[in-house]
Each structure stands twice: as C-alpha cells, then as structure tokens.
C-alpha cells in the first residue's frame, strides 16, 4: 500500500517534472529566438556606427561614473586609469571608498595627489557618514569620497548625491570599461530622452585577458576551467537572456558591474536599497514598479555592445558565496515586489518576467534538487525506469548544450570577441561539460541560499581580487 502510494507520488512528480522541464526549455528557446532577432536587428542598425557623432556632439548628455570600492587596493588605480581613457565628451569619476580596511584610499591619494576639499552637494539620499571628500589637482574630473562602511548600495547613494550630471553609471571597482562603452550606452538616452531610464551593457570576463594601462589589450579564454564555465554562462545570460527580455521591453536586471541610469528616475524610487543583497535587481524592479504604477511610457534597455570586463571567481569558495548572494537577492526581490507578480497592471514584467523568475529561476534549484533525490529514491526502491531516466537525462543535457552552443553562435555572428578557433572550440567544449557537474553544483549553492534567505542571513561575500597588471617575471626586479 505504502509502496503504491510512493509509486503514485513518484509518477505524479515525474509528470510534473516533465511539464516543468518542457515549459522551462520552451521559455529558453523562445527567449533565444527573440534574442537572435534582436542581435540581427542591432547589427543592422549599427552597421554604420554613429558613435563618433555622439562623441563630437555637445548635446550628448554628460555622465557621472560611480565606482564603489571596498578593499580594492589591487585594482582601484588601474580602474580609475581605464576610466580616464574613456571616449566620452563630458564625464566625472566619483570613487566611493566604502570603509576599506586595506590601502584603497592611500593608493588613490598617492596616485592622484588627492586633497581634502569642502565640497557642497545636495543630500538627496541618506547614507552612512562621510569621512572626507577628496579632489585631485591632476585630474579635474576625479572625486574620491571616503565614508564609513555601508555596503555597495549605500556607497552608490553617496555617489548619486555628489554627482553633477543627469546620468550616472554604476560599476564595480574591479571592472574595466571599454573605451567606447559610454558612447554606446548613452545612445538609447539620446534616442528616447523622455522614456529611457536605464541602460545595461554586456559584462564579459576579464580572467585570462591581458590588461595594460587600464585597457584590455588581448582577449582570451581563461586558462582555469571554473572561469571558462562562467564565460559560457555569461554569454548565455546576456546574449541569450537579457537581450531577449529587453526586446520584450521587460528587462528585469541590469548588472551592477555596468549600468547607466537617469538620476532623476533613481531619485524618484529613493535610490539604491541597502536592505537586499542584490541592489541592481532591486533597483531595476523598483524602476519598473514605479513607472508602471504611474502609467508613463518608459524604457529599460539592454545594449549588447558596450562592454564591461569584470573578474569572476576562480575558486569554488568564491563562486559559492557569489551565487549564494545572487540567489538570496533574487528571492528577496521577488518577495518585496510580490505585488507585481501575475498582476496585469505591470504588463510583461508582471505577467511574464517575474513569474518566469519565480517558477524557473527561484524555484528551479529546488525542483532540480528534488528531482535528483527522487531518482536516488527510485533507484533504491527499484522504481527507477533506467531507460527512461537515461533518455531524459540525455535530453536535459542536450538542451543545455544546445542553449550554450546557441549563445556561442550569437556571439560568433555578432561581436566575435573570441576570434581564435582554439577559444571557440573551448567555449563549445565547456558548453557541453557545464551540464555535467557544474550546473548541479550551482544548484546546490542556490539551495543553500534558500536556507540563508529563510534564516534572514545577509552577507555580501568576499572575492579575492587580483591586480590587472601581470606579475613581474622572476629576476625582473634585479634587472
């Protein structure tokens, strides 16, 4: 009797998994098709670029670059150097030293001969107390703010208060922005000035690349396997996912590593919210909620060309912390914006994107985990249909591989940042391998996030940064 009940439950769950699996992968496939169309459209529109006109025009909107930095002594000077070389008519750089315990501030003070100044600014958003504002006589557009530790959202709010321009760009201190990235990101603001409130660019992985003088001079796939998996993952997420959502006018997320926002719109929603673990997701959802509630037309756009290069974890421990935080942040954002879920008032974002995030992204690891558990239970109790299981597993792997290769395809027909055959083949190989092992480990990390979410635990999670400068060859110093 009990065995029959278990068997019925397993059959029911098996059917559920099958429906879930089909729905999930159909969504992925549709999103990929939308992304493909959008890539082609984007390429046609930008075949003759007009970025030089944007650069020369004095009607181009000036931008404040906000760089929150916490213990970034290895990268901060390179980051500022790379920002100074951006091709953009008018911009300022505001580095916010968020209570670093290392030599982040000292490195900046030394590199740019910074002096404390009595800067006057509007305190539109609240934040932790400031310790000092510094300006450089060497670099007129550079401001460094030293403040008590309050987290990235708090640091960004300080930056918004100090910023002078109508647009601001939020970025990570360990990232390198390509020199034309701002020109490309600002275009939607110029095209639809009254509607565009935020623009995100693509984030690519700098591990394995050569960075000289704050510029990525040679692009290559990382050597270690863990970052390579993430290269494939990022390609899929940005080219195969966000581009599609953006085309549907329902982009739910702009990466914290690189996003340009209209300051007035962000001030309207009270700036960055420090009470969640993913301030970028929270801000974009808040912007959607506000604009939809107001009933005004607006655009939150992903542009696939402006590139931000960022470091990703090279160790499992760092990756676990990062993914744990991302997943926890997503759960927090879904709970906070639950009013939008399945609410037709919020259009595509309420009826499609957030339900997708809830059902597939948030609950996906749980369903996957229970699925693996069921397989084990079935195997132990002899209820497992081995032939079916093998076939189903192969289908799951094949779908994953297909989506990864399809993202590589999108990359290959569009931006081709990895031009060598070797890199292409590596990407394809890891697109295959990530479905066996890597994906399952990520699911475990995300499952851990449920527990932390329920327990109300919050932590940012540290990742060890590396300097962009190559290590000196042995004996170089002596020479």
């Amino acid at each position: 009797m009990i065995l029959k009940l278990i068997a019925d439950a397993i059959t029911w769950f098996g059917n559920f998994i099958l429906v879930y699996f089909c729905a999930l992968n159909l969504s992925y496939l549709l999103l990929f098709l939308v992304s493909l169309t959008e890539v082609v459209r984007f390429l046609k529109r930008t075949f003759f670029s007009d970025y030089q006109q944007i650069l020369r025009s004095d009607l181009t909107l000036p931008i404040s670059l906000l760089v929150p930095a916490h213990n970034e002594e290895h990268t901060i000077v390179d980051t500022v150097r790379s920002l100074r070389m951006l091709n953009y008519p008018q911009f300022e750089i505001i580095v916010i030293n968020d209570g670093s315990t290392d030599r982040t501030l000292e490195r900046l003070l030394d590199a740019y001969e910074l002096r404390r100044v009595d800067r006057v600014f509007k305190r539109s958003l609240s934040h932790k107390p400031l310790r000092g504002v510094y300006a450089s006589p060497l670099v007129p557009g550079l401001t460094v703010v030293d403040k008590e530790r309050g987290g990235k959202p708090d640091a960004l709010n300080v930056g918004i208060n100090l910023s002078r321009y109508p647009l601001f760009c939020s970025m990570d201190a360990d990232s390198v922005i390509e020199e034309d990235a701002l020109l490309k990101a600002v275009k939607p603001f110029m095209e639809f000035p009254d509607e565009t409130v935020a623009v995100g660019g693509i984030v690519r992985i700098v591990n394995g690349c050569t960075v000289k003088e704050g510029r990525v001079t040679h692009i290559a796939i990382p050597r270690r396997p863990l970052p390579i998996y993430q290269v494939v993952e990022y390609l899929r997420a940005f080219l195969g996912g966000r581009l599609g959502w953006s085309a549907l006018q329902a982009l739910p997320l702009i990466s914290g590593a690189f996003g340009v926002y209209r300051k007035s719109a962000v001030l309207e929603v009270g700036g960055y919210d420090g009470t969640t673990d993913t301030e970028d997701l929270e801000l974009v959802l808040a912007l959607h909620q506000r604009r939809r509630a107001q009933g005004v037309p607006y655009r939150i756009v992903f542009v696939p060309d402006p590139v931000c290069w960022t470091q990703v974890p090279e160790r499992w421990r760092d990756l676990r912390r990062q993914r744990n935080r991302w997943h926890r942040g997503m759960l927090q954002a879904l709970v906070r914006h639950r009013r939008m879920l399945f609410n037709p008032r919020y259009g595509v974002i309420g009826m499609m994107v957030l339900p997708y995030y809830l059902i597939f992204e948030a609950l996906g690891p749980l369903v996957e985990g229970i699925g693996y558990l069921t397989v084990i239970v079935c195997a132990v109790t002899g209820l497992l249909n081995a032939a079916f299981f093998v076939k189903f597993f192969l289908v799951a792997v094949l779908v994953g591989v297909f989506l990864s290769v399809a993202s590589v395809f999108l990359e290959e027909i569009s931006f081709r940042r990895y031009p060598s055959w070797n890199d292409l083949l590596k990407l394809m190989l890891f697109g295959l391998l990530e479905n066996i092992g890597y994906r399952q480990i990520l699911a475990v990390f995300k499952l851990q996030a449920y527990w932390e979410f329920v327990a109300g635990r919050r932590r940012w999670g540290r990742m060890d940064r590396r300097s962009f400068q190559p290590k000196a060859a042995p004996g170089a110093q002596a020479a």
Binding site: L18, L59, V117, V120, A387, K391, V401, F402, V405, F409
Partner: protein, 408 residues
C-alpha cells in the same frame, strides 16, 4: 511517454548538430573572406593612394578592372575609408572614382530598396562618396517612414552640403523624434557658417518644436549674426526658448549681451535664471560680477551653483566677490563660495602669502582662513595642516584649527 522523450532526443540532437555546423561554417567562411580582404587591401592601398595624389588619370588606370565579388567590395571599402581622411583635390578625385567604378549608381539604386537597412546603407555610402547629383533623391528620402533611414539621409546631406541640403535639414528640425532632432542639429552645426543665414531666415516660420533646436544650433555656430535674434528671444513668452537663448548667447560670448543676461537673472522661471548665470560666466568682462554675487542667494539651487561657477571664471573680480560671499549671512552661498575658492586655487595663493607675504597679506589670508574655520569648511585646511610643504603654514593653520576645536 518514452516515445515522446525519444523523439525529443532525436529532434534536439538534430538541432544541436545544425547549430554546431552553422557556427563552424560561419567561422570558416568569415575567416576565409577576411583573410582574402586583408591581403587585397594591402595590395590595393598603394594604388588608391597613388590615384588620389595623381594630377590626372582614371581610377581604372590604377586599379585592375573589372571589379567583381569580394574584390569589388574591397575596393569600395578602401575608397570609402580613405576619402574620410582626405580634403581638396585628392578628395574630389576619390569622389570621381566612385562614379567611374559604378559605386554611386549602385548605392543610388539601394535608396529605393524595400529593406530599410539597405536604404540606410545606400544613403550612408552616398554621403561618404560626396555624390552631389544624388541630393534630390536624398532629400526625397527624408520622407522615408523609417526614422533611421531619414537620419542617414540627413547625415548624407550634411556631408555633401549645399544650399538645398541646408534648407532641407532646417525643415527636418520639426521632426517629432527627439533623437532625429538632435542629430540633425549636430549635422547643421557641422556645416558651419553656411548654415547661419538660412537658419536665421527660416526661424520665423519654424514651428515651436523646431525653434528650440534652432536656437541651440545658432549658439553652437557661434555667429554674431545670431545675437539680435537671440537677444530678442530673452523676452519670448516660452520660458524654454528664453533659457535656451540665454545658453546660446553664452556660447557666442558677445560682450554686448551682458546687460540683457543680467536682466534674465531675475526672470520668474528658474531655468532661465540658471542658464543666464551660466552664460554670464562665459562672457568676458566684470560687469556681471555684482549680479552674479546676488544670484548666489537665489532661491533655486541650480541658479546659485551656476552663479558660483561663473564667478570662479571671472578672474580677480569674481574671486573678490566670492570672498565677499564668505562674509555674508547666506550659509549656502558662503559654503559654495568656499568650495569655488578652493577649486580656483585662491586658498593655495592665500596660504603662500601666509608663509612668505607681507604683514598685510598675512592678515588678509588669516582673515579668510578664520572665516572658513567659522563656517566649518575645514577639510582642505586639515589636509594642509598635515601636508603643506611650508612648516610655518602648517603650524599657522594647525593653530587656527586648534583654536576652533577649543572654542567648540
């Protein structure tokens, strides 16, 4: 169920192999083409340069013809890339080469293609080719239903120039699309002085939406011919027009407009006052200093901020006004003045006097520093107290800060 999963497996496998093949084939084909083009470019570039610099001769004397397939594309792009860096005789010869090789006719035919991106390509190329005979068709393209096509036609017209192009571009300023308006404004500004008179002549007939970009363009063209019109617009009923006119007058920088801009500092609309304050900073002369100092106490933040920035750019008179503002009762004006004085290097100059100046200069410097301490604008002073190269200055500033700390 098993059958369904098996079918799924086969279907997905097929799809995977298809995408994989497309990726590999695309890469192979693209690699081959790019390699060929690179080699051909290296081979043909000297011939193109020789043709451009030659006094006479046809392009067909320099480049082997007939041009077909990938080879034709290489020559076309070599010419298109090269013409942008040339002027005068060499540029005219390349423009002629496009005609002789049939590239103009080819791009011209693209203007009527049913696909919008092909029309875009045609217009863009004709602009780069400086194909003057195609101007009437490019003007017609300004009515294309696709905004991107209209923009490219405008760009091409801007590149080719001529009165017909300028007049068409001016009438295109009334486009409802803000991006198009901005781009056309850029294109018109890029045409330089030749656009001023047609724009001034057309201004009274322009619809309200086109007047604002036209005002901006007149400012960017920096022609004194536009001053009377812009000065008159400072009294326009539309506050947006008044604000933009003030901004444009600042860009032109004619000293005769100081008085009307000073009057605009008391305009009932703050954007007009803010723009007037900003514009006055761009006009040389001290006549506006007093008015700008009064504007430091304006009710609107942006007017005060712009007035302070403008005073900073006014040389000694502006700095004296900022020092006076330090003494006033308006806390914001005093704080802003303190910052501007720091930014302008006035504080550094005062500190130098503190160390090496006469007794009067030391007294004056100490007075300003005491005022800053009283205003609690001491961040820079603290920095100086710890890092200034002159020990006497460090000690003096340290004493001031200590006295303030004790009194607090």
């Amino acid at each position: 169920m098993q059958g369904f999963v098996s079918a799924l497996l086969v279907g997905l496998g097929g799809l995977f192999l298809l995408v994989l093949s497309v990726v590999l084939l695309t890469k192979t084909w693209r690699g081959a083409r790019e390699g060929y083009e690179r080699r051909r470019r290296a081979l043909l570039l000297p011939s193109i340069v020789a043709y451009a610099n030659a006094e006479s001769g046809l392009i067909t004397d320099f480049v082997p013809t007939p041009l077909k397939g990938w080879n034709r594309r290489v020559v076309e792009w070599l010419l298109l890339d090269h013409i942008r860096s040339l002027r005068g005789h060499a540029q005219a010869r390349l423009a002629l080469a496009f005609e002789q090789l049939g590239f103009v006719a080819q791009a011209h035919a693209q203007l009527t293609h049913r696909r919008w991106w092909v029309r875009v390509e045609g217009a863009e190329k004709l602009g780069r080719m400086l194909a003057r005979p195609t101007v009437p068709d490019l003007i017609r393209l300004m009515d294309d239903p696709v905004p991107e096509v209209r923009l490219r036609a405008a760009k091409a017209l801007g590149a080719i120039g001529g009165l017909a192009a300028v007049e068409t571009l001016i009438s295109a300023l009334k486009a409802t699309d803000r991006w198009a308006t901005l781009r056309i404004a850029d294109i018109l500004s890029g045409l330089g002085p030749s656009a001023v008179e047609p724009l001034l002549a057309a201004f009274p007939r322009l619809p309200p939406a086109a007047r604002i970009p036209a005002i901006d363009i007149l400012g960017r063209l920096r022609s004194h011919l536009a001053v009377p019109l812009l000065r008159g617009l400072l009294a326009d009923p539309d506050p947006n027009a008044r604000a933009r006119a003030a901004h444009s007058l600042g860009l032109i920088g004619h000293p005769a407009v100081t008085a009307p801009l000073v009057e605009a500092l008391v305009d009932p609309e703050w954007p007009v006052r803010a723009m007037a304050a900003k514009a006055l900073g761009r006009i040389s002369g001290d006549e506006s200093v007093d008015a700008l100092r009064r504007a430091l106490s304006d009710s609107e933040w942006w007017v005060r901020a712009n007035a302070a920035e403008s005073l900073r750019s006014k040389g000694d008179a502006g700095r004296r006004a900022l020092l006076v503002a330090l003494e006033g009762g308006d806390a914001f004006a005093a704080h802003k003045a303190a910052w501007m004085l720091q930014e302008a290097g006035v504080l550094d100059a005062l500190l130098a006097r503190l160390g090496q100046g006469t007794e009067d200069e030391r007294r004056e410097a100490l007075g300003v520093l005491r005022r800053l301490v009283a205003l609690k604008r001491t961040d820079l002073l603290q920095d100086i107290a710890s890092r200034h190269p002159d020990a006497e200055v460090r000690a003096e500033v340290g004493r001031l800060l200590q006295a303030e700390a004790v009194s607090a």
